[in-house]
Amino acid sequence: MKIVKLKKSNLFLFLEIISKEADLWAPVKKSPDKHIFEVIEDFSKINLDYTRTILPPKKIMLPANFNMFRASSTEYTPDFSHVNKKIIFGIHPCDIHALVTMDKFYSHEYNDPYYQRARDNTLILGHSCWPDEYCLCKSTHTHVVEEGYDLFFTDLEDTYVVWIGSSRGDDLIRLKPELFDEDLTDKDIQKFSKRREERDKAFAKDINFEAMPDLMELKYQSPLWDKLGEACLACGSCSNVCPTCNCYNVEDKPILGKNCSNISRCWDSCTLENYSGVAGGENFREKRSDRLKLFYTHKLQSYISKYGKPACVGCGRCIVTCPVDINVYTVSKSLDGEEVDTFWNRLSKEVTK
């Protein structure tokens, strides 16, 4: 691995040089505790002092709604207008892991060209982070990255230690090599190791993910799922904010008077009511509890057997988003037999009173 140093005061200059021919996406502060990824016009808007963005970077690869085809009855013309050259700067390890999971998912058996082309045109510039009370990435082993990025910036007070993760990343450095220092001092290495040690100790929550596949099997009939189903609002927010949720719907939108259509693709969620409904009225998952079971089977169980790790990357977004406390933490803890203080536990106590 090639590792270099960059003075913090040179960061904007570097970003300016590399983003001349690409959209630069980076975190921007929207309210005291909300950040989002946005296309940057003004570098001073970049705010790296964040824990998680509202929506994960999946929105940059495959927008919530985009066009797949412009279609007439004689021709279906693919539309790749969502693809352009992009650089994502400031992305955290959990979200990089999510992209690596998506890379595997979208190339499994059939290659999804809408994802693949967007991914091929995007450079990933990661940035170090510090956990808050909701971060679970140490439990999911996604708090450090070994692949999936082009450059990774670790914040060491006045400098960044920059890990070069790909040949494309190296090309970026070579655009202005004089900004970078190849000599890492012992002091730098000490600082780096100390930071890592302290960060490892800063995690407040943990989940025993190794136990989850078995527990999902053993507790499939548990009344826990009915309790969760009672409380779930079936709003789909958990899917929207989850960096590895990838379900989508397809719509044929006729263009009036033209005898052609836009075939578009939009995010969907397995927690929504008609997710498993078929024509003729049959719905294979009418119950909210059944839909939640599918969601958590995918997060905690099936990806482990398919891709060797859970679909959850521990970003904590479902924890801060679900209005009724149904999230990967409370569900895992409950499966593990712990009583957690949640809206739905209080609700079921109220009902039994």
Partner: protein
């Protein structure tokens, strides 16, 4: 031998091919028969499917949905479908006439294990629209008749007018190498020449079954499975020699949109053909 580049999947697996409705006519009040040919001759020939697979059909302005292929790969060229009017896409399909263009892509999904079935006795049980996917494998067996043992067909419908492809089945009854039994729950025409009663009552007509040597293929409405499976299990046919084909919502056919997920599998990739063992092993299948 000249090397040949075999492209497993097209560059864009979501891209429909324009296809022409060659022939369409009603089978029952709400089911129509469609014969379809992909317009581009090379692509029509490269559409190589096997029994049990499905295709995605799209109608411009209405959308796209999955349909079982009812024709057999042993008669290449035209693709056939039995389609019930049930939703937006099928409503639009029913408005279309011969020579109209639709979009088609596939084939998708797994297949009936015809290689494993070689030399075995085959019992096909179909009810209602279950005839759509099972007709493919039935015709395949008949086209390769010498490779299989007994071929038995049990077909049930609610009423005579609701039996799909009844003329075709009447003429198949003439064949001596096919044990074909047709039944209706009730005969409201008074002219039904075959059995009256549930499809489960046909099992006693089959005589002695050699369970180890028999594959049973089942497809029909959800209510039918329970009773038919009971009969089949009574015969001691091994659980992994009982095959069914299932329906799910699908938006892609290639394991990306998520809608057909069951447990840890996708019906479009790992199905739609499942064994009875799959069904009891993987909750949620039926």
């Amino acid at each position: 031998m000249n090397g040949e580049n075999k492209i497993k999947a097209p560059l864009n697996p979501f891209q429909p091919e324009p296809a022409r409705i060659v022939r369409t006519y009603p089978l029952t009040d709400d089911v129509k028969f469609f014969q379809i040919r992909i317009v581009d001759m090379n692509k029509a020939l490269s559409f190589q499917y096997q029994t049990g697979q499905f295709a995605m059909i799209s109608v411009l302005g209405a959308g796209e949905a999955p349909f079982s292929i009812s024709s057999t790969p042993s008669r290449p060229g035209l693709l056939e479908f039995c389609i019930r009017k049930a939703g937006t896409v099928t409503n639009a399909l029913f408005q279309m006439k011969e020579n109209d263009l639709i979009g088609l892509r596939g084939p998708y999904g797994n297949t009936f294990p015809v290689k494993k079935m070689k030399g075995k006795d085959i019992m096909i049980v179909m009810g209602g629209l279950g005839a759509a996917p099972l007709r493919s494998v039935l015709l395949y067996l008949l086209d390769n008749r010498d490779q299989f043992g007994r071929v038995m067909l049990l077909h049930g419908a609610k009423r005579p007018t609701e039996m799909l492809l009844r003329e075709e089945f009447f003429s198949l009854k003439e064949r001596e190498d096919l044990e074909c039994y047709l039944t209706v729950d009730e005969d409201d025409t008074g002219e039904w020449p075959e059995d009256v009663g549930l499809v489960t009552q046909l099992f006693k007509k089959l005589g002695t079954i050699n369970p180890e040597n028999t594959f049973s293929l089942v497809c029909g409405p959800p209510i039918m499975y329970k009773f038919v499976l009971e009969e089949i299990l009574k015969l001691d046919i091994p659980k992994d020699q009982i095959l069914m084909t299932l329906e799910r919502r699908m938006k892609c056919g290639v394991g990306k949109c998520g809608h057909c997920a069951i447990d840890y599998i996708y019906t479009c990739l790992d199905g739609p053909v499942f064994t009875y063992w799959d069904v009891i092993h993987m909750r949620e299948l039926i």
